[in-house]
Symmetry: C2
Subunit: 409 residues, 2 copies
DNA sequence: CTCATTTTCTTCGAGGCCCAAAATAAATGG
DNA sequence: CCATTTATTTTGGGCCTCGAAGAAAATGAG
């Protein structure tokens, strides 16, 4: 039981943590004066001043033009993340398209690209090359010149990645297995390449957006229902991943043993009832039909379509019941084509959840609906890449870029 | 997304962490010299000396008689946890009995008691009184006089406790709901009372025992199959609990929607196929029959009995498949009456797991069998209580007891 | 126009903490 | 009896955070 008790702490771990805390505060809530940062982090003004000074020296932070403040006293001099310090990239690969975004260190988008779906039969080399090309394309269209090279890349990808988030273990998008992105792409990303589950990235972005508005809900199970069924789980404000893989294969949890055939080859997975293809199949439509059209048919009273959505909702509801049995109840959000059909899914989901779990254990279903899944996934992946960059820079990693000394001289 | 970034660290957090690390090292692997502690924790000899000195002053540690070492040089002077510093208690409540153990701060048992099952209809007051009486009984039989008052108590209990681990939300053992143990028992336990799920305590003890032998397997899903089906999950060496409750209600995860009736009132729970009562029902036996007798009948070829165990194994296997889909594959251990029938359950479990999950996601089932569940639960609960005591003492809490100054003077 | 006031930010000294190196302690074995 | 060996404690240096005091940079009243 290596509980660690926490490995021993050295004296300078404290500085490291506080550097990270300062950067995180700026990342989460934007530029602020030293005084405001002191209040936000709980550090003393003296310490914020010291750490802030060091981070300015290192080019991590930059002074930001103060807004008119009015009132007496010395005006605040806000600090912000220095956009020129580094650059990060995010790629979202779905079965329909590849979306890429380049952001500066402060999180502003500086470039973007789009292309249609990758060919299913692309081999590892072709895949890496295609993604590299997208990064180049996005950079080429950059609104700003002279940005430093990309120092971190996060790929949001429908499928299963391994624990180190570098290989695709399985994905419905391409036939290739065990593709290692780290190798080919690492060269242009300072080695910081991560392959993450798409739903996890959507969850992160959705929660982040919500947090900006309301208080700070820190838990969420996001169901990404579309060509497949994925789940992104956020617990205590941190993305929860499985052990061996980046995990959380909600869609491939068995719903009915021996039930409907799933794209993964097993029988009775949740996905086999709730994914787009399952809806189409259940409604007796053609594979290539538009799921949204089926949803409209269901709203117009088509019994087969209604039954298909009821079955999908039931599978999702039972799945949530199983999840809640293990983890306790969580707020839930729907994204993807499932979000567009939330009105059709909800009643069956609620009913199934009630069947599945005693009310003491589940409580009423808290279900919200997320917007454009691709946009959210891009946002989440970019945030993810930036956060890894933050960690590296806070720890003093040497990453090229930025008005380094020049800004000070 | 309150990711925290980790709250700001103060300078003296370092000392606190290192105190805890030192205590944890002694707790996990027994008394050792300062030099050995330095090696184990990664701290410098100078720091171990300083912290050790302070802990000796506070009565947390005590010199231990050194074993003959032979060889040159100044002999090592081992330090150990001071047995007299504090006392902790552990109670395991099952539907058959209440077992209680009192341990000193070094973890040695100094008293024990046993009584038969609690009456199902006992109210909150009667329950608290009964447990308090057991503690007194265990103390009365103590092999050692003058032990300090009990400063922490952990109750392992079949059922659901709330997040603060103080109330029983639901339990098959008694009819009462929402019983708060903290109030009545806190007075005699320094306020440190925790109500934990029994399976979680068994898991903890099982893994700890294993860790002493082999390397350090830090993940485990322990299935406690008996009057009910519980699960204790250890991830990264730490007990994983659900959000709202102390969670992990594996037994009440739906196996087959609309399936067999469960003791919880729902239909199709895993428990409704795998618990003792389900086995008896499935084999067409009387409720009061002995499940072990049914197991023997199955081994002797009784088809109904075989079928009952096959159904139980299938439910467990699919349940594990669902768990693995979310968390990734884990080593599994069986405890309780299920452990005694592991030979009967295993084939169906393996088969069901193969049906449930693609081999990439699950790998082969790693199944081990745990010993006496009650003994393990007691051990785990005592360890849990001691760990909370460690945390309090490391942080400098004032807890009465121990050769305080006297030992030094 | 000047200057007290107010608020922000920086500097300074004190108190901790950890570590490496030096000093001390306590055995062994020739 | 003493050189050698190993364990532990002491010492000094380098960081770190913090509170308090000082410096900076505005406002606004006279």
């Amino acid at each position: 039981m290596r509980r660690g008790g926490g490995r021993a702490a050295r004296s300078d771990d404290v500085r490291l943590r506080n550097r990270a805390a300062l950067i995180a505060a700026l990342r989460e809530d934007g530029p602020r004066s030293r005084t405001a940062l002191a209040a936000a982090t709980g550090l003393s003004a003296a310490t914020v001043s010291a750490i802030g000074g060091a981070l300015l020296e290192e080019g991590l932070l930059a002074p930001v033009a103060a807004e008119a403040q009015g009132g007496r006293g010395r005006p605040q001099a806000p600090l912000g993340l220095n956009p020129a310090r580094a650059t990060a990239a995010a790629i979202v690969v779905s079965n329909r398209a590849v979306d890429t975004v380049i952001v500066d260190y402060s999180g502003s988008e500086i470039g973007r690209s789009w292309r249609g779906a990758l060919p299913r039969d692309a081999g590892p080399a072709a895949l890496s090359a295609a993604l590299a090309a997208e990064i180049d394309a996005a950079r080429a269209g950059a609104r700003r010149d002279g940005a430093p090279p990309i120092a971190a890349l996060t790929i949001a990808w429908q499928g299963v990645a391994d624990a180190e988030a570098r290989r695709v273990v399985w994905s419905p998008i391409v036939d290739a297995r065990g593709v290692d992105f780290a190798g080919p792409l690492a060269a242009r990303c300072g080695g910081r390449v991560a392959v993450m589950n798409d739903a996890a990235m959507v969850a992160e972005a959705f929660l982040r957006r919500g947090a900006k508005r309301s208080g700070a809900p820190t838990d969420l199970a996001l169901l990404l229902v579309g060509p497949g069924v994925g789940m992104g789980l956020v617990l205590d404000g941190a993305a929860a991943a499985g052990r061996a893989s980046s995990g959380m294969e909600f869609g491939h949890m068995t719903h009915v043993p021996g039930g409907a055939p799933c794209a993964c080859g097993r029988l009775g997975c949740v996905e086999a009832y709730a994914a787009d293809y399952a809806i189409l199949r259940g409604a007796g439509r053609d594979e290539r039909d538009d799921p949204l059209a089926v949803a409209q048919a269901a709203r117009d009273g088509d019994p087969a379509a209604r039954a298909a959505f009821a079955a999908a909702g039931e599978a999702l509801g039972y799945g949530l019941g199983r999840l809640f049995a293990l983890l306790g109840p969580l707020p839930v959000a729907l994204a993807g084509s499932g979000a567009a059909a939330a009105d059709l899914l909800r009643p069956a989901m609620v009913a199934a959840l009630e069947q599945a779990l005693a009310p003491e254990l589940s409580g009423p279903l808290e279900l919200s609906v997320a917007g454009d899944a691709t946009a959210l996934a891009l946002e989440g992946a970019a945030a993810h890449a930036l956060r890894r960059l933050d960690a590296a820079l806070a720890a003093g990693a040497e990453i090229a870029g930025a008005p380094w000394r020049e800004a000070v001289a």
